[in-house]
């Protein structure tokens, strides 16, 4: 056998291998297309019932519900992910009806099992699904399964658990969220998002967290900071006295959080408390106080803001001028008659804005 023969043999083997790979890829593609076609064929009629369930009139909804409950496992699998994606986009009875169908299919138990899976992706999917299924009357097993994952070894799972817990409007849940977020600063945004969704039931826990933080740690700690931020976000006007009192004895970081929260809450009674920080040594605090007074607005804030139009720090003075513009006719009169450069700047920019 010559070298040429060997070369031909190798070329034929290579060609055959390539052919096999191509045939394999074609077969895989064909199989997937067939599976997709089968899935679409299964999905279309069931999805139509889901549409009817979520958009229909009461009698149509009843019929759709009856037809959806006994669907086969294959039909269920064809639409389950889409149905979960649809729930958060709906409101009111449409959302509740779809949740009810999903619960009837037993997906909650399956999701609880997934939260204990070895795969972190599956744990996240389980948590997401439990968050979607949760409601006012959620099964405590679901809540406890999600709470347990706040201490998961994987950050993505902890984060998904934190976001999912926003769907459980219970004070006890908020306590866990606050503790976890205080220990792990990178969960701050997710904590705020969840507490915002919990709403009113979170307020007593957050107030208590803020008060305790200032009482137990000189200047307050991370818990207090997060509680103050969340109180402003949730719109807890009942927390105004706690925030005002915490502001007086806190670190600069916590003081800033309280100032922002008081501005967001917009209670006119906070004008006196917010006038104090206008004289603070740190320009960031003075600027935040001026901005918050602007958010509160009204004539009460005008005298205090007028005093900082000539602040040494131009950003503070500008914040005061912008705040005065939001204080109604009284503030606007002060701005119009003030010779302070920032006042003239704000008046000019405002005039330009109204021309556009």
């Amino acid at each position: 056998m010559t070298l040429a023969h060997l070369g031909y043999g190798a070329a034929i083997v290579l060609l055959a291998a390539c052919l096999l790979v191509v045939l394999g890829l074609v077969a895989v593609r064909f199989g997937r297309d067939r599976a997709e076609l089968r899935r679409n064929a299964l999905r279309a009629p069931v999805w139509r019932e889901v549409m009817m369930l979520t958009t229909g009139e009461p009698d149509e909804v009843g019929d759709a519900y009856e037809r959806l409950i006994p669907v086969t496992a294959a039909e269920r699998a064809a639409i389950e992910d889409d149905a979960f994606a649809l729930v958060p986009k709906l409101r009111g009875t449409a959302r509740e009806r779809l949740r009810q169908v999903l619960r009837e299919w037993g997906v909650a138990d399956e999701a609880v099992r997934w939260t204990r899976s070895r795969s972190s992706v599956r744990r996240c999917r389980g948590l997401y699904r439990l968050g979607v299924l949760a409601s006012q009357q959620a099964d405590p097993t679901m809540r406890d399964a999600v709470l347990a994952r706040l201490d998961d070894r994987d950050f993505a799972v902890r984060r998904t658990a934190m976001l999912a817990l926003g769907s459980f409007p219970e004070a006890g849940v908020v306590e866990h969220l606050l503790n976890r977020a205080a220990r792990e600063p990178r969960l701050r945004v997710d904590f705020l998002s969840s507490v915002d969704r919990v709403g009113a039931p979170a307020v007593p826990v957050l107030r208590r967290g803020l008060t305790r933080s200032v009482a137990e740690t000189p200047g307050g700690d991370r818990r207090g900071f997060l509680a103050a931020e969340a109180l402003g976000l949730v719109g807890a006007v009942s927390a105004v006295p706690s925030l005002e009192s915490a502001m007086e004895e806190s670190s600069d970081e916590l003081r800033l959080a309280c100032i922002h929260a008081l501005g967001q809450l917009g209670a006119s009674s906070s004008v006196v408390a917010l006038s104090g920080p206008l004289g603070h040594h740190d320009p960031t605090v003075r600027r935040a106080a001026a901005a918050s007074l602007g958010l509160i607005g009204g004539s009460w804030a005008v005298p205090a803001l007028t005093t900082v139009l000539y602040d040494d720090n131009v950003e503070v003075a500008r914040a005061a001028a912008n705040a005065l513009r939001r204080c109604g006719p009284g503030g606007q009169d002060v701005l119009a008659s003030s010779p302070a450069p920032v006042a003239r700047e704000v008046v000019a920019l405002s005039a330009l804005g109204s021309m556009a």
Binding site: M51, T55, K89, L90, R91, G92
Partner: protein, 123 residues
């Protein structure tokens, strides 16, 4: 029966709105971005438009401005259906020329009622 344009980049929302309005007997044209919405308005002259605000390319607000700038479409009733729920967002929506504003998550039946009410008012 009316011809209604629906523009939303979220396929689920588009499908929901299209399904609900079709079952009420309306003729629905669905598109996925603002530019296509403007084109569809000029081509099919709908009786009402339901627009999302945050869409790729031309936003819903820009689409309304373009619609209002066209004399033939200036009176077209427009409903904004959007996830932007802040007070200032609603204000901006109405300032841009929207006739109604619905925030997501939404109730398809409520949307249908508002569509009916707006159609009745303009006819």
């Amino acid at each position: 029966m009316a011809r209604i344009l629906v523009a939303d980049d979220d396929v689920d929302i588009r499908e929901l709105v299209e399904f609900k309005l079709s079952t009420l007997g309306h003729d629905v044209v669905a598109v996925s971005d603002g530019a296509a919405a403007i084109d569809a308005c000029q081509a099919s002259r709908p009786d009402l438009a339901v627009l999302d605000v945050m869409m790729p390319g031309v936003s819903g607000l820009d689409a309304i401005r373009a619609i209002r700038a066209d004399p033939a479409l200036a009176d077209l009733p427009v409903i904004l259906l959007t996830a932007r729920a802040q007070e200032s967002d609603v204000e901006t929506g109405f300032d841009s020329g929207a006739d109604d504003y619905i925030t997501k998550p939404f109730s398809p039946r409520e949307l249908a009622s508002r569509v009916q009410a707006l159609l009745t008012r303009v006819r």
